[in-house]
Structures are given as C-alpha cells and as structure tokens.
C-alpha cells in the first residue's frame, strides 16, 4: 500500500499526478478525432510549431501560454488553409509550416544559449516542475475541450465521418474546423510541460488507436480512449517515481504496451473467430448437404 501512498506525501507528486491524469484524458479524447481525420502528423507537427512560439514568447518576454497558444493556433489555421489548395498535399503543408516554426525556435536558442535548460524541459517534459499555474491551465483546457467535444459532438462526428456531405446537412465546416484547431493548439500547449514536445503526438495517437481496435462505435471509442489516457497518466506517474524514469516517456511507453497487448489480443480473437466460422460451422452442417 505504501507503494501508492508514499509518493503521495509529496506535493510535487500530487500536482504531477493530477496534471498527468488530465493530460492523458485530454489527449486521449481529442486524439480520437485526430486519428480519424488522419491528422496524426498534424499533432506531431503542431507540437514542434508550438515550441517555436514558446521560444519567441520567451525572448520577447510574452506570457508562455499566450505566445505558444497563439502560435499553435495560427499554425493550425495556416495548415488548414494551405492544405485546401489542391496542388499541395496536407502532409507537405504540415511539413513546411511546422518545421519552419520549430526552426525559428532552434535558431533563437542557438543565438542566446543561456536558457537551454528550460527548453530541454519543453522538449522532453518535466512533470516535477509543474507549477500550480500550469495545473490550473491544464484543468481549464481539459474542461474547455471536453465541453467543446460534448457540445459539438454531432457536427464534429458528421464532419469527421464525411467532410463533403456534412455541409450539405448544414454543418458549418469552416467554423467547426477553426474551433477544432483552437482545441488542438490549446491541448498541445497545456500538455507540453507534462509530456514534452517530442512525445505529445504519441499521447494523442496511441490511446485512440488502441480504442479503435476495441470498438466499432464512435461514442464508445471516445470513452475508451479517454480512460486509457487517464489510466496511463496515473500508472505512468507511479512507475516513473519508483523506477526514476522520465514521466513523459513512461506514460508513452505504457500506452504503447497497452496498444501492443490490445493489437495482439484482438488479432488472435479475430483469427480464432474466422477459423471457427470457416471450419466449425461447415463441418457441423455437413449432414444437410
């Protein structure tokens, strides 16, 4: 029991735990839309883009959340706009915009080497350094994104399923798309301190992909993905504490393990079902022929 209660005595752990549960759930929830809209690469790119905004904010001494959030949101809109031009594929648009943003950050850092350490935290996550302010931001973003998904559940589902037909039924795709970009930028900015720029994409993609293997229903997929993310957050924090491994990496590795187990499990089950269908029934019905 002390395995669970001992670290709980430390305030940094309690704060980190709360932050990682919220970030895990938040990324799991939003990740469903990201993988179904085939935007995994956008998640990965946006986190790098946000890094550029964060550095610019730091140099210009603007609030981190404001600078990184605005930068991320504008990048997401720019990606949407560029990808709509038919000659440029979405993947190329993402590659150009986000890596250029990241390069801005790298260039600024190399120019002023004094704050390298802070940005190591931004790149790889530093959950032990989660401040009460960070926690409040994470909580606010989680509640806001959850409210967005709940209120826009129907148009979001329609648009995710069929972006061509949704406007015919009156879904204002442009508006919902921009709100989604905002939700994505906010999620990434809020998650940076917990999992870091380099690992955010994994927390968006792995829980939702695992959930997809477990259900064929959209509604259930969101619930399962959120739960996987939250559980990985809790367990990851404890494993990270006891084994003294980076918390972001632990969370991602746990999610990857969950995916692997689910993948093997569902593949075996499906094979067995197919085998049963193919062989057992025909054998059973042979006398009728």
């Amino acid at each position: 029991m002390s395995l669970i209660t001992e670290p709980y005595a430390y305030e940094f752990f309690r704060q980190g735990l709360l932050a990682s549960v919220l970030v895990g759930a938040l990324c799991g929830m939003l990740g469903v839309y990201i993988i179904l809209r085939r935007m995994s690469y956008i998640g990965h790119g946006l986190s790098h883009s946000v890094f550029g905004g964060a550095v610019v904010g730091y140099v210009a001494s603007i609030n981190f959340y404001f600078a990184a959030g605005l930068w991320g949101f504008l990048s997401a809109l720019a990606i949407n706009a560029t990808a709509r031009r038919r000659r440029i594929g979405a993947d190329a648009a993402i590659g150009i915009i986000t890596t250029a943003s990241f390069a801005v950050g790298v260039a600024l850092i190399s120019k002023t080497r004094s704050f390298t350490r802070n940005f190591e935290a931004a790149l790889f996550g530093n959950i032990l350094g989660v401040t009460p302010t960070d926690l409040v931001i994470v909580a606010v973003v989680t509640i806001a994104v959850a409210a967005f998904i709940l209120l826009f559940y129907k148009p979001l589902l329609f648009m995710t399923f069929d972006v061509e037909v949704a406007p015919i039924y009156g879904v204002r795709v442009g508006v919902v798309d921009s709100l989604f970009a905002l939700a994505m930028a906010a999620t990434i900015v809020a998650s940076i301190n917990v999992v870091g720029v380099t690992l955010i994409a994994a927390t968006l993609v792995i829980p939702s992909t695992t959930a997809r293997l477990l259900t064929d229903s959209f509604g259930r997929m969101i619930v399962i993905s959120t739960i996987i993310g939250a559980v990985a957050g809790v367990v990851g924090m404890y494993v990270s504490y006891w084994l003294d491994i980076s918390s972001g990496a632990t969370i991602v590795l746990l999610e990857a393990a969950a995916f692997l187990i689910t993948f093997v499990g569902t593949t075996v089950t499906r094979r067995r079902q197919r085998w049963t269908k193919q062989w057992v029934k025909p054998l059973g019905s042979r006398p009728d022929r």
Binding site: L36, I149, L150, L151, Y153, K154, P155, L157, F158, T160, F161, D162, E164, V165, P167, I168, Y169, G170, V171, R172, R212, T215, D216, S217, F218, G219, M221
Partner: protein, 299 residues
C-alpha cells in the same frame, strides 16, 4: 407527366439561368430547369459533364456565378437547404470509420437538439421505425462495414430520410452494386416516390437505370435535353450529350442504347485479323446479356 419546364409553379426545384462551378471555372452554364413536386428525375451525361455538380448545386454547396436556384420557392443560399435529403455515392464512404448504423442514420438529424451529444429516446425510436420501413430493421447496432451493398445503400438512404425530406438527392445510387441490389434500390426509390417524395438521381447507366425513369435530363456542361426517355433518347440528343456515336434501339417498349464505336472497332479489326471469330462470339454474348438485363429491370 406534364413538361416540367412549362409548369414552374408546381416546381419543387427551379434553376433560372444558373452558371456554377469551382475555383471560378464554370462546370455548368446557363441551366434553366424545373423539377416538379413528386417527380422522379434522372440526370445523365458523360464523366465530368456536371451531373454531380448539378445535384450539389441544389443544396447550395457549389459556388454560383450567375442565376438563381429555388427549392420549394425558397432561394438556395448559404447553409442547409431545408427538406432535402442527400445520399452520397457509396464509393466515397470511409468504411473503416467506427460508426454503427444508428450513429450514421442519426447524423441526418444532427441539427435537432444540436447541443445534446447523446440520442434521445425519440431519436432511437425514429431510427428503429425508419430502418424497419427500409427493410433493414434489427441492424441498428451493426458496424456499417458488416452489411451487404444493398443494406449499406439503405443506411445512407435512412440518414437522408430521418429528417422527413420532401426531396431526395442521390449521387450515383446504383454504381458499384450488383444487378439485384440495383433493382432493389430502384424499386425502393419508386415506393418512396409513390409516397410523395421527389427524387433526383445521377446515373451513368442509360439502359439499366435512366431508360426506366419517367423523366431524364441530359447534361454536358449545360442542359442538352430533358423529357421522357421514350422521346428524348435519340441518336441526335445522346450523340450531343456524350460526344459519341450512339444508336437507340426500341424493342417492345424497351429502349436500348448501344455504343456504335465498338462495332466500328470490330469492323476495323475484322479487316486486320483472320482469327476474329472467337472475339465476335464473345461480343455477341455480351449483347444478349444486356438485353436480358433490360427486360428483367423493366418487369
């Protein structure tokens, strides 16, 4: 049926001098067209002729350069056109998407209680009743991939009908389905039409679909002709529509459109090759099959 163009008052859908297209490039020019309430209309034409654009313009998602479109007397503009159900081409559907039949059908009702994420009891009952009516009752909780082609088409028909539309628009509803499914779908649409729903569909199948509809619009960048296929399916009109040499054969009330080009090809090949016999037999077999199909559909 009365000529729709002469009765604009009865028209459910009216195009008045419409030019529309994408990125400033007109796909359709100067379209004036009236689709009567209760009509069952097919839009035919070659690939890229603007069949789907014509259909999409009715729901206001094609930028218009000129002209006016009204549905039920109300001009089509930004936002959804009320009272219209849309059935997409099945080939465009993402079948790996995690959605049950119920989830897909309820998309058609998203604007009702739009801020509420979950389906109400009323919603659920509506879906069940509609699925029963369309002959796919009991499949509500299946994943859409686990259905046959005909069942899948009915799911998207159900999504279009859950909002009780007076107008159903279907983009190539018979493409990519087998023969029996095609007949089932056409008969189902005829039943819905008999219940008073106006139906407009696009099709590239002249013999097996368009020739059996009461009213057909021939499109190729503009409206070439419209009317009863009995009257407008002529070599001249179809030649103008398709830019190809098409022959029209009328046999006991059956219309059969045949492409003359392959026959010319055959003649050309006959001159060159001595061992033509084999290919000739195969072609003749194909023709017979085609005629038989036509009769079956008509019956």
């Amino acid at each position: 049926m009365a000529a729709p163009a002469s009765a604009p008052d009865r028209a459910l859908v009216a195009f008045e001098g419409v030019t529309c297209g994408y990125d400033g490039e007109p796909v359709l020019r100067d379209v004036t067209l009236a689709i009567p309430r209760g009509g069952f209309v097919g839009i035919v034409g070659p690939s890229g002729a603007g069949k789907t654009t014509l259909l999409r313009s009715i729901v206001g998602v094609v930028p218009r350069v000129e002209g006016r479109i009204t549905v039920g007397g109300r001009p089509v503009g930004r936002g959804a056109t009320p009272g219209v159900g849309w059935v997409p081409q099945l080939e465009t559907v993402d079948w790996q998407f995690p959605a049950t039949v119920r989830e897909v059908v309820l998309m058609g009702r998203w604007a009702e209680r739009r801020w509420q994420a979950w389906a109400s009891k009323d919603d659920r009952q509506r879906v069940d009743r509609l699925l029963d009516r369309l002959g796919i009752g009991g499949l509500a909780d299946r994943h859409i991939r686990q259905l046959s082609g005909g069942q899948q088409q009915r799911v998207f028909l159900a999504r279009a009908m859950i909002g009780d539309p007076s107008l159903l628009l279907l983009d190539e509803p018979t493409s990519g389905v087998d023969l029996k499914t095609r007949d089932d779908i056409l008969h189902l649409l005829a039943e819905l039409n008999a219940d008073g729903i106006t139906i407009v569909l696009t099709t590239h199948e002249l013999n097996t679909v368009a020739a059996h509809l009461p009213w057909v619009v021939c499109v190729n960048g503009r409206v070439i002709a419209e009317g009863d296929p009995d009257q407008i399916f002529t070599s001249a009109i179809l030649g103008l529509t398709y830019g190809a040499d098409l022959r029209v054969v009328r046999l006991d009330g059956i219309i059969l459109v045949a492409d003359a080009a392959p026959h010319r090809l055959r003649d050309a090949l006959r001159h060159r090759h001595d061992g033509f016999e084999h290919a000739h037999h195969e072609h003749a077999g194909g023709d017979h099959e085609h005629i038989a199909t036509n009769e079956a559909t008509r019956a």
